[in-house]
């Protein structure tokens, strides 16, 4: 029996809550879906193993030459940057999500103990999420190339531990530099950007250097090989550890553990102080002059559109989350710039990239405007028809999409008017489809739950992605002048119609009122 208040006892409590949270997320809060969720996870794991076999199965006999070490190091840095992003997000949540924090901080339990467990939990979650994606590749390599590849698990452990330590130190620094009020936003924006910056950075470098978006072209290039240190250098230890060498593995593990233990020793006490500071300090940015005139002499529709844009503009976290996809436009933008400058043929794949990004972005923005309405009672009781409200929200979303993508289309038109027209049509179709799916599956929730919106309806999430990719496929075919393009568009329409057929079932089950009571707001 564990002693109440001990680290093991707190860990047990945290583990139970984390497990229940995970099950709730996986099943959408419906226990009867557990079997389906388990089946889906099993299918995903099998698919990942198949994908891993396809991509790395033939490289299991890799030796630690300079090229292999460069590529493995690239993969390690990518994994670490994604883990850091996730850890940063979790650390911020640990500070700001009050939940049980007030209860625990008001108890005689030493706060240091709680935060020791919470930092460990962050590391554990970060590693688990990474393993979910990395483990299939490691397993396949071990299957084909022997157990030496299993040492990659040790590297993942070390990466998770060090990423957590750095995330804790970074957040602590932010607290001291910008204060508790701004740390939340700064850390969450940092987390969002960190996750994408390596992938996009390396792709952008590949495009600028070689005119090719393939990241491996850069990693395998002579220029990188020339810059890379000698094979014997300690720089390659993480890669060597992945390849199964004992000493580098021990060193990487030791470094990861040392950083982690140091983070706990230094920061667990300060965590408690910061948590108290966030409770006391308002999360508001005070005394900024609000302009009532911003809504001016306008029709209710205009007022609603302005409100949507204003709320999005004023929420850096939401902005960073919803506009994350925009970062992925940097590579096609560079490609456009490079090809335009050189007068070469406009790459066909730019159109589908723009289309899929527009679809995903429109889905997120439509969720914020439609489901993430913070004052549904006010809107519901206003003398405006429900149709006008929805139209204003759709217009607000579409206007944002048009503003964002117009420069790309304009640049594209200089190179190829046909591809620009195809991309424009695809963007509009993908965005409208995503918005329609959001309208069909809307479930009132708080805007702060934007990150967890996918758990409220698996069908909507899947349909939104499938629709965007279908329209992107159609746009790609049309841009390439393929006669199959109309068939692609028909597939996209079929996806939308199929989603529409599923909609009444979902709506009937929910028996959604015109506007929910506050207690009906979905936590997911």
């Amino acid at each position: 029996m564990m002693r109440a208040g001990s680290i093991a006892w707190i860990a047990g409590h945290e583990l139970r809550l984390a497990w229940r949270d995970f099950v709730s997320m996986a099943t959408g809060g419906r226990r009867r879906r557990t079997a389906v969720a388990v089946l889906l996870v099993a299918i995903f794991i099998a698919f990942m193993h198949w994908l891993a076999d396809l991509t790395v199965g033939g490289h299991a006999d890799a030796v630690p030459d300079r090229q292999t070490l460069t590529i493995v190091t690239g993969a390690v840095v990518l994994s670490w940057s994604l883990m850091l992003s996730q850890a940063l997000e979790q650390v911020t949540r640990a500070f700001y999500q009050r939940a049980d924090l007030d209860l625990i901080l008001s108890s005689p339990l030493p706060a240091r103990r709680l935060f020791t467990v919470r930092i460990a939990a962050i590391a554990g979650t970060t590693m688990a999420m990474a393993l979910f994606l990395i483990a299939p590749f490691v397993n396949v390599l071990a299957w084909h190339g022997g157990p030496r590849w299993l040492s990659a698990y040790g590297v993942v452990f070390a990466l998770g531990a060090s990423a957590t330590a750095v995330a804790v130190a970074l957040t602590d620094s932010l607290f001291r530099w910008v204060g508790p009020r701004r740390t939340r936003y700064a850390a969450q924006v940092l987390a969002a950007v960190t996750g994408a910056v390596f992938v996009i950075g390396i792709q952008a470098a590949a495009i600028v250097s070689y005119g090719s978006p393939a990241r491996f072209d850069l990693l395998q290039s002579e220029a990188v090989a020339a810059l890379a240190p000698a094979v014997e250098s300690a720089f390659w230890w993480p890669a060597r550890a992945v390849l199964g060498e004992g000493s580098p593995l021990a060193a990487v593990l030791a470094l990861g553990c040392a950083l982690f233990v140091a983070a706990i020793a230094f920061f667990s006490t300060r965590f408690a102080r910061h948590a108290r500071a966030t409770a006391g300090a308002p999360s508001t940015l005070r005394a900024r002059q609000g302009r009532a005139a911003a809504f001016g002499r306008s029709t209710p529709g205009t007022v609603l559109r302005r409100k949507e844009w204003m709320l999005l503009r004023r929420d850096p976290w939401l902005m960073s989350q919803s506009l994350m996809q925009v970062l992925y436009l940097i590579p096609p933008a560079l490609l456009l710039w490079r090809n335009f400058g050189e007068g070469s043929d406009m790459p066909v794949f730019v159109a589908p990239v723009l289309v899929v990004t527009a679809g995903q972005l429109a889905g997120g923005l439509a969720w914020l405007a439609v489901s993430g309405e913070d004052a549904p009672d006010l809107i519901g009781s206003a003398p405006v028809t429900a149709r006008s409200v929805l139209r204003a929200k759709v217009e607000a979303t579409m206007a944002a999409i048009v503003c964002l993508f117009a420069p790309f289309l304009l640049a594209l038109a200089f190179g190829s008017l046909w591809i620009a027209l195809v991309a424009a049509a695809g963007i509009v179709a993908a965005a409208l489809s995503a918005i329609q799916i959001q309208l069909w599956f809307r479930l009132q929730a708080r805007r702060t739950h934007f990150r967890r919106r996918h758990t409220s309806s698996r069908v909507a999430t899947f349909a939104e992605a499938l629709s965007s990719f279908s329209w992107a496929g159609a746009a790609g075919l049309a841009a390439a002048g393929s006669p199959l393009a109309p068939a692609g568009a028909l597939v996209a329409l079929a996806v939308l119609l199929g989603t529409g057929v599923l909609r009444p079932v979902a709506v009937r089950r929910r028996q959604a009122p015109v506007a929910p009571t506050p207690s009906q707001l979905s936590p997911a």
Binding site: F295, V303, L311, P376
Partner: protein, 247 residues
């Protein structure tokens, strides 16, 4: 005289019936309070009146306008305020009021003047330009109340508007509502604070299991319950005790 609010045979069921054939008439310029135990159907009734919930059957009329046939015209005369202040954290009170005024189509100049006046009245003038995200619950509730009043509604529907307010804020809200009634507006309000109903309401409706079981002035209710010198609390408990317990 056209009633400010009239419901006839109003019904709404979720998993079980929430409102069952409710007939309610509120006169113009009246302060009407709806009382009832938890789960009696008070909030459901008011949400249907505010156009937030579609009834299964029955009719709702606001100043003679059929609220189900012409909801926009009915809503133009109505304001709704719930116990949970739902406002936009990223807007300042002044911006929030300008937004509400825009929704109700109030002239911007007039709205700004009204907004400033209301914020001043509710003690929010020093915070007029701050974003609402750092406000206490009471401050948010006052912003929401200002939003309900900025378009000068003829019918004000409030669901537990005093929940979570301190004594000073509660007094302020009560004064504002009394002033609105004195100015000709009609107030329909639910509350669990019986002392408030006793002191403010001209007529009180007692609802249980979705039905109106008693209605009238405090004296009427005392007579009905057979407790001549009792407080409203005693009368309420006596009246609702006659009904089977609700879930």
């Amino acid at each position: 005289m056209i009633p400010a609010l009239e419901t006839r045979a109003l019904r709404k069921a979720f998993d079980r019936p929430a409102v069952e054939g409710l007939d309610l008439t509120v006169r113009p310029g009246e302060f009407y309070t709806l009382l009832g135990p938890n789960g009696a159907g008070k909030t459901t009734t008011l949400r249907m009146v505010a156009g937030l919930l579609a009834p299964d059957s029955g009719s709702i009329s606001i100043f003679g306008v059929d609220a189900l046939a012409d909801p926009v015209a009915a809503k133009r005369m109505t304001a709704w305020l719930s116990d949970e202040p739902m406002i936009y954290d990223k807007l300042s009170p002044l911006e929030y009021l300008a937004f509400v005024a825009g929704l109700w189509g109030v002239d911007a100049g007039h709205a700004e003047m009204r907004a400033t006046e209301l914020l001043d009245w509710l003690g929010l003038a020093p915070h007029a330009h701050e974003r609402c995200e750092g406000f206490s619950r009471g401050m948010k509730q006052k912003v929401a109340l200002a939003g309900a009043l900025v378009h000068e509604p003829r019918l004000i529907v409030l669901d537990e508007p005093l929940t979570g307010l301190d004594a000073r804020s509660a007094r302020l809200v009560k004064d504002v509502l009394i002033a609105r009634v004195a100015g000709g507006a009609t107030v329909v309000m639910t509350t669990h604070i019986l002392e408030v109903a006793e002191r403010m309401a001209e007529r009180i409706g007692v609802i249980a299991q979705g039905r109106l079981i008693a209605e009238g002035t405090l004296e009427d209710l005392r007579a009905r319950s057979g407790r001549r010198d009792s407080t409203l609390e005693d009368v309420f408990l006596a009246l609702t005790a006659e009904e089977p317990a609700t879930a």
